[in-house]
């Protein structure tokens, strides 16, 4: 059984992380678990620290509409598992150790600072010289103005990135593959921050 786990909210998150690991040669010495939602992650990760031989549990969650509240609920649970954690989430993501020699990692999408989700992080990776994204934006503005959109306002960033992906060489490419197929760039600073956090999270304690 894997003694290092990375808990993520959904299938897209899992495949994005797998694609990044492959791209950046991060050893896949941890199990990435699709927990199907934030509430499952919040319920289970204190228990994951109690399973036999568990060394590391990392979590990647969406900030959604209130990053401070999300961090606060994670912080309380980490403290009860014996981790000393700062009041504010570091912008490079959290890595903490407890007295039992276990490691905890927290990354809140998109960048540990803003409200948002995985899809916002993915939009940061659209190449700067891309000419389609402005048109995607104005198209969404337009249908929203005419009240034709069926997505909720809070899901706009999902509509945004998936529309953009629908206009690429292979329409319908899922998020993970869009990295592998290089539709998205991985040279952005935010991507480097996330992969540094992943490496740090998966490395063995000294």
């Amino acid at each position: 059984m894997a003694n290092k786990k990375l808990l993520v909210e959904g299938n897209d998150d899992k495949h994005v992380m797998l694609a990044l690991c492959e791209k950046f040669d991060i050893p896949e010495n941890f199990e990435i678990i699709d927990c199907q939602g934030i509430s499952n992650i919040l319920e289970r990760f204190p228990i994951d620290f109690k399973t036999s031989g568990t060394k590391t549990v990392g979590v990647i969650v969406d900030a959604d509409t209130d990053i401070r509240a999300r961090w606060a609920s994670l912080k309380t649970k980490l403290e009860s598992a014996g981790f000393a954690v700062p009041d504010n989430l570091p912008e490079s993501g959290l890595i903490a150790e407890n007295h039992s020699g276990q490691k905890a990692g927290v990354w809140i999408m998109p960048n540990n600072e803003m409200d948002g989700m995985l899809e916002d992080f993915m939009s940061f990776l659209v190449p700067h010289d891309d000419n389609l994204m402005p048109i995607v934006g104005s198209t969404l503005d337009d249908i929203e103005l005419k009240r034709l959109n069926k997505y909720k306002n809070s899901d706009r960033s999902k509509a945004n990135i998936h529309t953009w992906l629908a206009w690429q060489d292979a329409p319908g490419t899922p998020l993970g593959l869009s990295i592998t197929k290089r539709y998205l760039t991985t040279e952005e600073e935010i991507c480097e921050k996330l992969t540094d956090w992943l490496k740090n999270c998966s490395s063995d304690l000294q």
């Binding site: 319920e43 109690k50 399973t51």
Partner: protein
């Protein structure tokens, strides 16, 4: 009921504490993490150090020798060697600190000789024997004295004994004679109602006698209900055959005129009979089950746990069981969280961290989340 447990120097439990225990305690962990040792320690506590139980444990460990010796010193060594296997690292110290102590945690272990102990103590001692004629010159009274401080030079002058102490009394067993063969010579003391189901018990020799204890009582109904988990057509059972040790169970099914040997019906129903007979015979006491899942298909484990919970409540029994099986933990979790009698139960996982046994406890709620999200707790 034990509310906590402190064990010292018993096999691989050198100094081990369980801060809290519930009515039903399921223990899991890899091999060599002390699961069986924990059950055995509870058995020793509940039986007040009963020598027959110790002999049974030594037999199970393959530490029981039938060798005989006419030489008292050699016999003492044979006994010492067998009994030493119960002690952490087979240490045979003759001082109090090398002794096995089993009791509730947090109550402190007092070594005062005459104070009433709240634990069971087992240890080797050196003792001296003095013969005295009584005043009427009619008989000789032998008095034995445990020597607590031994000068190394005098070591061989004293005899070797095994000292057992429990809350209501104590016993000094002389090791110069065969204490186990052909059966323990020392009369067992009264012990609590205790049934210990070992790993290998699919069928158990004592089942016939256990059935006799409860036949024609309400408890017989519990037995039939339990057997229906596996064979819904079960109507009655009986033990037939000659001699108390050779009797075997037969079963009457509703769609069959005759009776069938229970042995012909597979391991599952036989294991359930063994478990349920042990259960209904441990009223106000303890039931210990090593490897709950043995012989049982995973689909019946939840139902069996439901019966265990219900009877533990009705008959006031504290249950300790061990398991290696995720299905067993899952069945335990569902029966625990659904039980209407509000019985308290928990899972305790033992780990061997560089020779030190550690414990992790899981509440019913944690078990439910782990079960729903497929988190392996073994």
């Amino acid at each position: 009921m034990l509310t906590s447990l402190h064990i010292k120097n018993y096999r691989n439990l050198k100094d081990f504490t369980l801060d809290s225990l519930d009515q039903v305690n399921l223990i899991t962990g890899k091999n060599n993490t002390g699961k069986s040792s924990l059950l055995e320690a509870v058995a020793i506590y509940a039986s007040k150090g009963n020598i027959s139980l110790l002999a049974e444990l030594l037999k199970n460990h393959g530490e029981y020798f039938r060798e005989q010796s006419d030489d008292a010193g050699q016999m003492a060594n044979l006994n010492l060697n067998a009994l030493s296997s119960l002690f952490t690292g087979r240490v045979t110290g003759f001082d109090v600190s090398s002794g096995i102590f089993i009791g509730e945690a947090g109550k402190g272990i007092s070594h005062e000789k005459y104070e009433k102990p709240n634990f069971v103590e087992l240890r080797f001692v050196k003792y001296d024997e003095k013969s005295q004629q009584d005043t009427a010159n009619t008989s000789i009274v032998k008095q034995r004295f445990i020597i607590d401080t031994i000068d190394e030079n005098d070591f061989d002058e004293y005899r070797t004994g095994f000292y057992i102490r429990w809350p209501e009394g104590n016993q000094l067993i002389r090791l110069e004679r065969n204490i186990f063969f052909p059966r323990p010579l020392v009369k067992p003391v009264n012990s609590a109602n205790l049934e210990f189901i070992h790993t290998a018990y699919i069928d158990r020799e004592s089942n016939g006698a256990l059935f006799d204890n409860i036949t024609l009582t309400d408890k017989e109904r519990f037995v039939i209900e339990a057997l229906k988990i596996i064979e819904p057509k079960t109507e009655r059972i009986a033990f037939i055959g000659k001699g108390s040790r050779e009797r075997s169970a037969v079963i009457k099914l509703s769609d069959n005129e005759g009776v069938l040997p229970l042995k012909s019906m597979g391991d599952g129903i036989n294991r359930i009979l063994t478990l349920i007979l042990a259960l209904v015979n441990s009223e106000n006491g303890f039931l210990l089950i090593d490897e709950f899942e043995n012989g049982l298909h995973y689909t019946v484990q939840k139902q069996l746990w439901e019966i265990v919970f219900s009877l533990a409540k009705q008959l006031n029994i504290q249950v300790f069981a061990t398991t290696h099986s995720e299905d067993c933990i899952s069945g335990f979790e569902q029966a625990l969280n659904e039980n209407k009698e509000a019985i308290k139960g928990k899972l305790i996982r033992l780990d061997n961290v560089k020779g030190v046994i550690t414990q992790t406890n899981f509440s019913p709620r944690e078990l439910k989340i782990a079960n729903e999200q497929n988190i392996e707790l073994r």
